[in-house]
Symmetry: C2
Subunit: 234 residues, 2 copies
Amino acid sequence: MRTISPPVGLPALAETDLVGQVARRLTEAIVQGRLLPGSKVVEAGIARELGVSRAPVREAARLLEQQGLLVAHPRRGFFVRQFAADDIDEIYDLRLCVERHAAVLAARNLTSESRDRLRRQIEVLHETADLEDPARQVEEDYRFHRLICEIAGNRRMLRLFDDLASELRMVIGLIGRLYDDPHEIARTHEPVLAAIEAGHPERIVAHVDYHIGHAWREVGRLVREIPPWPAAAK
Amino acid sequence: MRTISPPVGLPALAETDLVGQVARRLTEAIVQGRLLPGSKVVEAGIARELGVSRAPVREAARLLEQQGLLVAHPRRGFFVRQFAADDIDEIYDLRLCVERHAAVLAARNLTSESRDRLRRQIEVLHETADLEDPARQVEEDYRFHRLICEIAGNRRMLRLFDDLASELRMVIGLIGRLYDDPHEIARTHEPVLAAIEAGHPERIVAHVDYHIGHAWREVGRLVREIPPWPAAAK
DNA sequence: CAAGTCTAAACTGTCGACAATCGGCGATTA
DNA sequence: TAATCGCCGATTGTCGACAGTTTAGACTTG
Protein backbone atom coordinates (compact mmCIF):
# COMPACT_ATOMS: atom_id res chain seq x y z
CA MET A 1 0.00 0.00 0.00
CA ARG A 2 1.55 3.18 -1.18
CA THR A 3 1.67 6.25 0.98
CA ILE A 4 1.94 8.31 -2.15
CA SER A 5 3.08 11.86 -1.77
CA PRO A 6 -0.18 13.69 -0.96
CA PRO A 7 -1.20 14.31 -4.57
CA VAL A 8 -2.22 17.85 -5.11
CA GLY A 9 -0.21 20.97 -5.67
CA LEU A 10 0.06 22.98 -2.55
CA PRO A 11 2.65 25.60 -3.36
CA ALA A 12 5.48 24.09 -1.34
CA LEU A 13 6.12 26.32 1.63
CA ALA A 14 9.61 27.58 1.20
CA GLU A 15 10.06 29.09 4.60
CA THR A 16 13.68 29.77 3.83
CA ASP A 17 13.09 31.73 0.67
CA LEU A 18 15.32 34.67 1.47
CA VAL A 19 15.19 35.96 -2.08
CA GLY A 20 11.41 36.11 -1.99
CA GLN A 21 11.37 37.85 1.35
CA VAL A 22 13.93 40.40 0.28
CA ALA A 23 11.99 41.02 -2.92
CA ARG A 24 8.83 41.61 -0.91
CA ARG A 25 10.55 44.01 1.45
CA LEU A 26 12.04 45.96 -1.41
CA THR A 27 8.75 46.09 -3.28
CA GLU A 28 7.08 47.34 -0.13
CA ALA A 29 9.66 50.03 0.38
CA ILE A 30 9.32 51.19 -3.19
CA VAL A 31 5.56 51.12 -3.39
CA GLN A 32 5.26 52.90 -0.07
CA GLY A 33 7.60 55.55 -1.34
CA ARG A 34 10.30 54.88 1.21
CA LEU A 35 12.67 54.39 -1.69
CA LEU A 36 12.22 57.25 -4.09
CA PRO A 37 12.44 56.99 -7.87
CA GLY A 38 15.94 57.52 -9.13
CA SER A 39 17.56 56.65 -5.84
CA LYS A 40 20.31 54.10 -5.85
CA VAL A 41 19.74 50.75 -4.20
CA VAL A 42 23.00 49.77 -2.59
CA GLU A 43 23.28 46.02 -2.30
CA ALA A 44 25.47 45.99 0.76
CA GLY A 45 23.22 48.50 2.49
CA ILE A 46 20.04 46.50 1.94
CA ALA A 47 21.88 43.33 2.88
CA ARG A 48 23.12 44.74 6.16
CA GLU A 49 19.76 46.26 6.96
CA LEU A 50 18.04 42.93 6.45
CA GLY A 51 20.79 40.91 8.06
CA VAL A 52 21.57 38.80 5.03
CA SER A 53 24.40 38.61 2.54
CA ARG A 54 24.47 40.34 -0.82
CA ALA A 55 23.72 37.26 -2.90
CA PRO A 56 20.00 37.05 -2.09
CA VAL A 57 19.71 40.81 -2.42
CA ARG A 58 21.15 40.73 -5.92
CA GLU A 59 18.78 37.99 -6.98
CA ALA A 60 15.82 39.84 -5.54
CA ALA A 61 16.91 43.01 -7.29
CA ARG A 62 17.01 41.17 -10.62
CA LEU A 63 13.48 40.03 -9.96
CA LEU A 64 12.28 43.56 -9.34
CA GLU A 65 14.15 44.66 -12.41
CA GLN A 66 12.27 42.18 -14.57
CA GLN A 67 9.13 43.48 -12.90
CA GLY A 68 9.98 47.02 -13.84
CA LEU A 69 10.41 48.47 -10.36
CA LEU A 70 14.18 48.75 -10.65
CA VAL A 71 16.53 49.45 -13.50
CA ALA A 72 20.03 48.03 -13.61
CA HIS A 73 22.99 50.04 -14.82
CA PRO A 74 25.82 47.58 -15.30
CA ARG A 75 28.68 48.26 -12.93
CA ARG A 76 26.76 51.08 -11.34
CA GLY A 77 24.03 49.26 -9.54
CA PHE A 78 20.27 49.20 -9.29
CA PHE A 79 18.15 52.32 -9.26
CA VAL A 80 14.51 52.79 -8.42
CA ARG A 81 12.65 53.23 -11.65
CA GLN A 82 11.57 56.68 -12.67
CA PHE A 83 8.29 57.04 -14.49
CA ALA A 84 7.69 59.59 -17.16
CA ALA A 85 4.30 60.57 -18.52
CA ASP A 86 4.69 58.21 -21.46
CA ASP A 87 5.26 55.30 -19.08
CA ILE A 88 1.81 55.89 -17.70
CA ASP A 89 0.44 55.80 -21.21
CA GLU A 90 2.26 52.59 -21.99
CA ILE A 91 1.05 50.89 -18.85
CA TYR A 92 -2.56 51.90 -19.26
CA ASP A 93 -2.52 51.15 -22.96
CA LEU A 94 -1.35 47.63 -22.27
CA ARG A 95 -3.66 47.24 -19.32
CA LEU A 96 -6.63 48.27 -21.40
CA CYS A 97 -5.65 45.81 -24.10
CA VAL A 98 -5.40 43.00 -21.56
CA GLU A 99 -8.43 43.78 -19.46
CA ARG A 100 -10.76 44.08 -22.41
CA HIS A 101 -9.79 40.61 -23.41
CA ALA A 102 -9.85 39.29 -19.86
CA ALA A 103 -13.32 40.66 -19.25
CA VAL A 104 -14.69 39.03 -22.37
CA LEU A 105 -13.13 35.72 -21.39
CA ALA A 106 -14.36 36.11 -17.84
CA ALA A 107 -17.90 36.59 -19.10
CA ARG A 108 -17.56 33.39 -21.08
CA ASN A 109 -16.31 31.46 -18.03
CA LEU A 110 -18.60 33.09 -15.52
CA THR A 111 -20.13 30.77 -12.93
CA SER A 112 -22.47 31.75 -10.17
CA GLU A 113 -19.57 31.30 -7.80
CA SER A 114 -17.20 33.62 -9.65
CA ARG A 115 -20.01 36.12 -10.18
CA ASP A 116 -20.55 36.21 -6.43
CA ARG A 117 -16.88 36.81 -5.82
CA LEU A 118 -16.98 39.81 -8.13
CA ARG A 119 -20.11 41.16 -6.46
CA ARG A 120 -18.65 40.64 -3.04
CA GLN A 121 -15.51 42.49 -4.06
CA ILE A 122 -17.53 45.50 -5.11
CA GLU A 123 -19.14 45.47 -1.69
CA VAL A 124 -15.69 45.45 -0.14
CA LEU A 125 -14.86 48.45 -2.28
CA HIS A 126 -17.81 50.31 -0.85
CA GLU A 127 -16.92 49.29 2.67
CA THR A 128 -13.32 50.42 2.43
CA ALA A 129 -14.42 53.67 0.79
CA ASP A 130 -15.37 54.88 4.25
CA LEU A 131 -11.99 54.10 5.73
CA GLU A 132 -9.29 56.72 5.49
CA ASP A 133 -6.87 54.29 3.96
CA PRO A 134 -5.97 55.06 0.36
CA ALA A 135 -3.45 52.22 0.17
CA ARG A 136 -6.12 49.73 1.15
CA GLN A 137 -8.57 51.25 -1.31
CA VAL A 138 -6.11 50.96 -4.16
CA GLU A 139 -5.43 47.41 -3.12
CA GLU A 140 -9.07 46.39 -3.12
CA ASP A 141 -9.58 48.10 -6.44
CA TYR A 142 -6.84 46.00 -8.02
CA ARG A 143 -8.24 42.94 -6.35
CA PHE A 144 -11.44 43.38 -8.33
CA HIS A 145 -9.64 43.72 -11.63
CA ARG A 146 -7.36 40.86 -10.74
CA LEU A 147 -10.39 38.70 -10.09
CA ILE A 148 -11.51 39.32 -13.64
CA CYS A 149 -8.17 38.14 -14.96
CA GLU A 150 -8.31 35.16 -12.65
CA ILE A 151 -11.73 34.18 -13.88
CA ALA A 152 -10.57 34.61 -17.45
CA GLY A 153 -8.38 31.63 -16.69
CA ASN A 154 -5.14 32.54 -18.46
CA ARG A 155 -2.30 32.33 -15.95
CA ARG A 156 0.09 34.29 -18.13
CA MET A 157 -2.42 37.05 -18.46
CA LEU A 158 -2.85 37.12 -14.71
CA ARG A 159 0.88 37.46 -14.22
CA LEU A 160 1.03 40.25 -16.74
CA PHE A 161 -1.73 42.01 -14.84
CA ASP A 162 0.18 41.63 -11.59
CA ASP A 163 3.27 43.15 -13.13
CA LEU A 164 1.35 46.09 -14.51
CA ALA A 165 -0.43 46.52 -11.20
CA SER A 166 2.80 46.69 -9.26
CA GLU A 167 4.05 49.44 -11.50
CA LEU A 168 0.77 51.27 -11.13
CA ARG A 169 0.77 50.87 -7.36
CA MET A 170 4.14 52.55 -7.34
CA VAL A 171 2.92 55.44 -9.47
CA ILE A 172 -0.22 55.88 -7.42
CA GLY A 173 1.81 55.68 -4.25
CA LEU A 174 3.92 58.53 -5.53
CA ILE A 175 0.94 60.61 -6.44
CA GLY A 176 -0.04 60.15 -2.83
CA ARG A 177 -3.75 60.27 -3.32
CA LEU A 178 -6.56 58.71 -5.31
CA TYR A 179 -7.74 60.28 -8.50
CA ASP A 180 -11.33 60.28 -7.42
CA ASP A 181 -13.67 59.98 -4.51
CA PRO A 182 -13.45 56.39 -3.22
CA HIS A 183 -17.22 56.00 -3.25
CA GLU A 184 -17.33 57.21 -6.82
CA ILE A 185 -14.62 54.75 -7.79
CA ALA A 186 -16.44 51.90 -6.10
CA ARG A 187 -19.62 52.79 -7.96
CA THR A 188 -17.99 52.86 -11.37
CA HIS A 189 -17.15 49.18 -11.06
CA GLU A 190 -20.77 48.21 -11.15
CA PRO A 191 -21.48 48.77 -14.85
CA VAL A 192 -18.42 46.71 -15.68
CA LEU A 193 -19.69 43.77 -13.69
CA ALA A 194 -23.16 44.25 -15.12
CA ALA A 195 -21.77 44.07 -18.63
CA ILE A 196 -19.86 40.93 -17.81
CA GLU A 197 -22.97 39.34 -16.36
CA ALA A 198 -24.94 40.34 -19.44
CA GLY A 199 -22.28 38.82 -21.60
CA HIS A 200 -22.36 41.02 -24.72
CA PRO A 201 -18.75 41.37 -25.84
CA GLU A 202 -19.26 44.85 -27.28
CA ARG A 203 -20.87 46.14 -24.12
CA ILE A 204 -18.16 44.60 -22.01
CA VAL A 205 -15.41 46.21 -24.03
CA ALA A 206 -17.20 49.52 -24.02
CA HIS A 207 -17.58 49.56 -20.24
CA VAL A 208 -14.04 48.38 -19.58
CA ASP A 209 -12.79 51.04 -21.98
CA TYR A 210 -14.73 53.66 -20.14
CA HIS A 211 -13.70 52.52 -16.68
CA ILE A 212 -10.00 52.08 -17.37
CA GLY A 213 -9.92 55.02 -19.72
CA HIS A 214 -11.21 57.25 -16.94
CA ALA A 215 -8.47 56.12 -14.57
CA TRP A 216 -5.92 56.56 -17.36
CA ARG A 217 -6.94 60.16 -17.97
CA GLU A 218 -7.07 61.06 -14.31
CA VAL A 219 -3.81 59.44 -13.32
CA GLY A 220 -2.18 60.88 -16.43
CA ARG A 221 -3.42 64.31 -15.46
CA LEU A 222 -2.07 64.05 -11.94
CA VAL A 223 1.28 62.77 -13.12
CA ARG A 224 1.60 65.65 -15.52
CA GLU A 225 0.59 68.10 -12.84
CA ILE A 226 2.96 66.97 -10.13
CA PRO A 227 5.63 65.94 -12.57
CA PRO A 228 8.95 66.75 -10.89
CA TRP A 229 8.99 63.43 -9.08
CA PRO A 230 9.90 63.68 -5.39
CA ALA A 231 13.61 64.42 -5.62
CA ALA A 232 15.62 61.70 -7.27
CA ALA A 233 18.05 61.35 -4.39
CA LYS A 234 21.12 60.33 -6.29
CA MET B 1 34.26 77.60 -24.32
CA ARG B 2 32.94 74.13 -23.89
CA THR B 3 34.76 71.10 -25.25
CA ILE B 4 31.68 69.00 -25.00
CA SER B 5 32.16 65.26 -24.85
CA PRO B 6 32.56 64.03 -28.46
CA PRO B 7 28.91 64.13 -29.46
CA VAL B 8 27.70 60.86 -30.87
CA GLY B 9 26.20 57.77 -29.28
CA LEU B 10 28.32 54.70 -29.40
CA PRO B 11 26.24 51.94 -27.78
CA ALA B 12 28.00 51.42 -24.47
CA LEU B 13 29.81 48.11 -24.51
CA ALA B 14 28.91 45.99 -21.52
CA GLU B 15 31.37 43.27 -22.33
CA THR B 16 31.48 41.95 -18.82
CA ASP B 17 27.86 41.00 -18.43
CA LEU B 18 28.34 37.40 -17.41
CA VAL B 19 24.76 37.01 -16.30
CA GLY B 20 23.50 38.10 -19.69
CA GLN B 21 25.84 35.80 -21.51
CA VAL B 22 24.92 32.83 -19.36
CA ALA B 23 21.25 33.61 -19.86
CA ARG B 24 21.74 33.68 -23.62
CA ARG B 25 23.60 30.37 -23.63
CA LEU B 26 20.96 28.72 -21.53
CA THR B 27 18.16 30.10 -23.67
CA GLU B 28 19.95 28.80 -26.74
CA ALA B 29 20.37 25.36 -25.25
CA ILE B 30 16.72 25.21 -24.30
CA VAL B 31 15.31 26.57 -27.54
CA GLN B 32 17.54 24.28 -29.57
CA GLY B 33 16.31 21.36 -27.56
CA ARG B 34 19.68 20.52 -26.08
CA LEU B 35 18.09 20.84 -22.67
CA LEU B 36 14.87 18.91 -22.71
CA PRO B 37 11.68 19.91 -20.86
CA GLY B 38 11.56 18.52 -17.38
CA SER B 39 15.29 18.06 -17.14
CA LYS B 40 17.07 19.47 -14.14
CA VAL B 41 19.43 22.36 -14.62
CA VAL B 42 22.29 21.82 -12.22
CA GLU B 43 23.89 25.12 -11.28
CA ALA B 44 27.33 23.72 -10.64
CA GLY B 45 27.26 21.79 -13.89
CA ILE B 46 26.38 24.80 -16.02
CA ALA B 47 28.89 26.89 -14.10
CA ARG B 48 31.70 24.45 -14.71
CA GLU B 49 30.77 24.01 -18.34
CA LEU B 50 30.88 27.75 -18.92
CA GLY B 51 33.89 28.29 -16.73
CA VAL B 52 32.19 30.64 -14.29
CA SER B 53 31.02 30.40 -10.70
CA ARG B 54 27.52 29.56 -9.61
CA ALA B 55 26.45 33.08 -8.70
CA PRO B 56 26.01 34.38 -12.27
CA VAL B 57 24.35 31.11 -13.23
CA ARG B 58 21.79 31.47 -10.48
CA GLU B 59 20.98 35.01 -11.51
CA ALA B 60 20.64 33.99 -15.13
CA ALA B 61 18.40 31.11 -14.14
CA ARG B 62 16.15 33.49 -12.22
CA LEU B 63 15.90 35.56 -15.36
CA LEU B 64 14.85 32.60 -17.45
CA GLU B 65 12.40 31.64 -14.76
CA GLN B 66 10.71 35.01 -14.96
CA GLN B 67 10.69 34.51 -18.72
CA GLY B 68 8.97 31.19 -18.34
CA LEU B 69 11.68 28.93 -19.75
CA LEU B 70 12.59 27.49 -16.37
CA VAL B 71 10.63 26.70 -13.25
CA ALA B 72 12.19 26.84 -9.81
CA HIS B 73 11.44 24.27 -7.12
CA PRO B 74 12.81 25.64 -3.87
CA ARG B 75 15.69 23.57 -2.56
CA ARG B 76 15.41 21.26 -5.54
CA GLY B 77 16.68 23.47 -8.27
CA PHE B 78 15.67 24.75 -11.67
CA PHE B 79 13.94 22.60 -14.25
CA VAL B 80 13.31 23.19 -17.91
CA ARG B 81 9.70 24.13 -18.29
CA GLN B 82 7.28 21.55 -19.58
CA PHE B 83 4.49 22.71 -21.80
CA ALA B 84 1.08 21.17 -21.83
CA ALA B 85 -1.54 21.72 -24.48
CA ASP B 86 -3.22 24.41 -22.42
CA ASP B 87 0.04 26.35 -22.24
CA ILE B 88 -0.07 26.64 -26.00
CA ASP B 89 -3.59 27.97 -25.75
CA GLU B 90 -2.59 30.49 -23.11
CA ILE B 91 0.34 31.75 -25.08
CA TYR B 92 -1.54 32.13 -28.33
CA ASP B 93 -4.54 33.62 -26.60
CA LEU B 94 -2.37 36.30 -25.07
CA ARG B 95 -0.39 36.76 -28.24
CA LEU B 96 -3.53 37.28 -30.23
CA CYS B 97 -4.77 39.80 -27.70
CA VAL B 98 -1.51 41.73 -27.91
CA GLU B 99 -0.90 41.57 -31.62
CA ARG B 100 -4.37 42.71 -32.54
CA HIS B 101 -3.78 45.80 -30.50
CA ALA B 102 -0.22 46.24 -31.71
CA ALA B 103 -1.27 46.01 -35.33
CA VAL B 104 -3.94 48.65 -34.90
CA LEU B 105 -1.46 50.95 -33.19
CA ALA B 106 1.15 50.22 -35.82
CA ALA B 107 -1.27 51.25 -38.53
CA ARG B 108 -1.83 54.48 -36.71
CA ASN B 109 1.93 55.17 -36.44
CA LEU B 110 2.84 53.87 -39.85
CA THR B 111 5.39 55.94 -41.73
CA SER B 112 6.74 55.22 -45.15
CA GLU B 113 9.94 54.11 -43.47
CA SER B 114 8.30 51.63 -41.14
CA ARG B 115 6.09 50.40 -43.95
CA ASP B 116 9.18 49.65 -46.01
CA ARG B 117 10.73 47.74 -43.15
CA LEU B 118 7.65 45.54 -42.96
CA ARG B 119 7.65 44.97 -46.70
CA ARG B 120 11.32 44.20 -46.70
CA GLN B 121 10.82 41.66 -43.93
CA ILE B 122 8.22 39.83 -45.96
CA GLU B 123 10.73 39.64 -48.78
CA VAL B 124 13.24 38.15 -46.36
CA LEU B 125 10.60 35.62 -45.42
CA HIS B 126 10.28 34.57 -49.02
CA GLU B 127 14.02 34.41 -49.45
CA THR B 128 14.61 32.23 -46.40
CA ALA B 129 11.73 30.00 -47.45
CA ASP B 130 14.06 28.43 -49.98
CA LEU B 131 16.74 27.66 -47.45
CA GLU B 132 16.54 24.41 -45.53
CA ASP B 133 16.79 26.18 -42.20
CA PRO B 134 13.64 25.98 -40.10
CA ALA B 135 15.22 27.78 -37.16
CA ARG B 136 16.04 30.73 -39.38
CA GLN B 137 12.57 30.72 -40.87
CA VAL B 138 10.96 30.79 -37.47
CA GLU B 139 13.30 33.59 -36.50
CA GLU B 140 12.46 35.74 -39.50
CA ASP B 141 8.77 35.08 -38.96
CA TYR B 142 8.98 36.44 -35.43
CA ARG B 143 11.02 39.33 -36.67
CA PHE B 144 8.07 40.45 -38.78
CA HIS B 145 5.65 40.26 -35.91
CA ARG B 146 8.13 41.91 -33.62
CA LEU B 147 8.44 44.79 -36.07
CA ILE B 148 4.72 45.38 -35.75
CA CYS B 149 5.04 45.64 -31.98
CA GLU B 150 8.05 47.89 -32.38
CA ILE B 151 6.18 50.22 -34.70
CA ALA B 152 3.26 50.22 -32.29
CA GLY B 153 5.63 52.06 -29.99
CA ASN B 154 4.83 50.53 -26.62
CA ARG B 155 8.06 49.19 -25.10
CA ARG B 156 6.25 47.08 -22.53
CA MET B 157 4.21 45.48 -25.22
CA LEU B 158 7.35 44.72 -27.14
CA ARG B 159 8.89 43.05 -24.14
CA LEU B 160 5.78 41.01 -23.59
CA PHE B 161 5.95 39.90 -27.21
CA ASP B 162 9.57 38.89 -26.78
CA ASP B 163 8.71 36.80 -23.74
CA LEU B 164 5.87 35.06 -25.53
CA ALA B 165 8.07 34.52 -28.56
CA SER B 166 10.80 32.87 -26.54
CA GLU B 167 8.29 30.42 -25.12
CA LEU B 168 6.93 29.76 -28.57
CA ARG B 169 10.39 29.28 -30.04
CA MET B 170 10.94 26.61 -27.44
CA VAL B 171 7.70 24.86 -28.29
CA ILE B 172 8.34 25.04 -32.02
CA GLY B 173 11.88 23.83 -31.50
CA LEU B 174 10.47 20.81 -29.70
CA ILE B 175 8.00 20.09 -32.44
CA GLY B 176 11.03 20.04 -34.67
CA ARG B 177 9.37 21.28 -37.79
CA LEU B 178 7.20 24.06 -39.10
CA TYR B 179 3.47 23.76 -39.16
CA ASP B 180 3.25 24.72 -42.81
CA ASP B 181 5.16 25.14 -46.00
CA PRO B 182 7.57 28.08 -45.55
CA HIS B 183 6.44 29.70 -48.76
CA GLU B 184 2.85 29.43 -47.68
CA ILE B 185 3.70 30.99 -44.33
CA ALA B 186 5.55 33.83 -46.00
CA ARG B 187 2.58 34.48 -48.25
CA THR B 188 0.08 34.65 -45.40
CA HIS B 189 1.85 37.66 -43.98
CA GLU B 190 0.92 39.79 -46.95
CA PRO B 191 -2.75 40.33 -46.16
CA VAL B 192 -1.81 41.39 -42.64
CA LEU B 193 0.52 44.06 -43.94
CA ALA B 194 -2.03 45.10 -46.53
CA ALA B 195 -4.64 45.58 -43.83
CA ILE B 196 -2.23 47.64 -41.76
CA GLU B 197 -1.44 49.81 -44.74
CA ALA B 198 -5.13 50.23 -45.45
CA GLY B 199 -5.67 51.23 -41.86
CA HIS B 200 -9.17 49.94 -41.12
CA PRO B 201 -9.11 48.64 -37.55
CA GLU B 202 -11.71 45.96 -38.20
CA ARG B 203 -9.89 44.60 -41.21
CA ILE B 204 -6.61 44.65 -39.35
CA VAL B 205 -8.03 42.71 -36.45
CA ALA B 206 -9.71 40.27 -38.78
CA HIS B 207 -6.53 39.52 -40.68
CA VAL B 208 -4.38 39.26 -37.56
CA ASP B 209 -6.99 36.95 -36.07
CA TYR B 210 -6.88 34.79 -39.12
CA HIS B 211 -3.11 34.71 -39.37
CA ILE B 212 -2.36 34.02 -35.73
CA GLY B 213 -5.40 31.83 -35.35
CA HIS B 214 -4.11 29.60 -38.11
CA ALA B 215 -0.74 29.18 -36.42
CA TRP B 216 -2.51 28.55 -33.13
CA ARG B 217 -4.61 25.74 -34.55
CA GLU B 218 -1.71 24.14 -36.39
CA VAL B 219 0.76 24.31 -33.53
CA GLY B 220 -1.93 23.16 -31.15
CA ARG B 221 -2.64 20.19 -33.38
CA LEU B 222 1.02 19.19 -33.59
CA VAL B 223 1.49 19.53 -29.86
CA ARG B 224 -1.50 17.30 -29.20
CA GLU B 225 -0.27 14.78 -31.74
CA ILE B 226 3.28 14.42 -30.50
CA PRO B 227 2.32 15.04 -26.91
CA PRO B 228 4.58 12.86 -24.82
CA TRP B 229 7.34 15.45 -24.80
CA PRO B 230 10.78 14.06 -25.55
CA ALA B 231 11.54 12.19 -22.36
CA ALA B 232 11.59 14.40 -19.31
CA ALA B 233 15.01 13.27 -18.20
CA LYS B 234 14.49 13.76 -14.53
C1' DC C 1 9.31 -9.31 -4.44
C1' DA C 2 7.31 -4.93 -2.86
C1' DA C 3 7.85 -1.61 0.71
C1' DG C 4 10.53 0.62 3.93
C1' DT C 5 15.02 2.26 5.99
C1' DC C 6 19.49 4.05 6.11
C1' DT C 7 23.82 6.10 4.16
C1' DA C 8 26.65 8.52 1.13
C1' DA C 9 26.90 11.63 -2.58
C1' DA C 10 25.09 15.48 -4.91
C1' DC C 11 22.99 19.99 -4.71
C1' DT C 12 21.13 24.24 -3.25
C1' DG C 13 21.06 28.41 -0.28
C1' DT C 14 24.03 31.67 1.78
C1' DC C 15 27.99 33.77 3.16
C1' DG C 16 32.41 36.41 3.31
C1' DA C 17 36.38 37.71 0.55
C1' DC C 18 38.81 40.00 -3.34
C1' DA C 19 39.82 42.23 -7.51
C1' DA C 20 38.05 45.44 -10.91
C1' DT C 21 35.48 49.59 -11.66
C1' DC C 22 33.03 53.84 -10.76
C1' DG C 23 32.24 58.56 -9.02
C1' DG C 24 33.91 62.41 -6.63
C1' DC C 25 37.38 65.67 -5.35
C1' DG C 26 41.45 68.13 -5.19
C1' DA C 27 45.70 69.12 -7.80
C1' DT C 28 47.49 70.57 -12.34
C1' DT C 29 47.67 73.04 -16.44
C1' DA C 30 46.55 76.09 -20.09
C1' DT D 1 38.76 80.23 -14.38
C1' DA D 2 37.51 76.19 -16.40
C1' DA D 3 38.60 71.81 -18.24
C1' DT D 4 41.54 67.62 -17.26
C1' DC D 5 43.98 64.27 -14.86
C1' DG D 6 44.84 61.13 -11.30
C1' DC D 7 44.01 59.26 -6.82
C1' DC D 8 40.92 57.37 -3.04
C1' DG D 9 37.00 55.47 -0.98
C1' DA D 10 32.79 53.13 -2.09
C1' DT D 11 30.40 49.58 -4.58
C1' DT D 12 29.75 45.95 -7.92
C1' DG D 13 30.90 41.44 -10.17
C1' DT D 14 32.55 37.08 -9.25
C1' DC D 15 34.42 33.43 -6.76
C1' DG D 16 35.20 29.47 -3.50
C1' DA D 17 33.60 27.52 0.81
C1' DC D 18 30.30 25.48 4.12
C1' DA D 19 26.07 23.92 6.20
C1' DG D 20 21.67 21.87 5.64
C1' DT D 21 18.56 19.34 2.46
C1' DT D 22 17.33 16.23 -1.14
C1' DT D 23 18.18 12.31 -4.02
C1' DA D 24 19.93 7.84 -5.42
C1' DG D 25 20.97 3.33 -4.14
C1' DA D 26 22.27 -0.37 -1.32
C1' DC D 27 20.30 -2.99 2.21
C1' DT D 28 16.69 -4.79 5.22
C1' DT D 29 12.35 -6.80 6.23
C1' DG D 30 7.85 -8.78 6.02
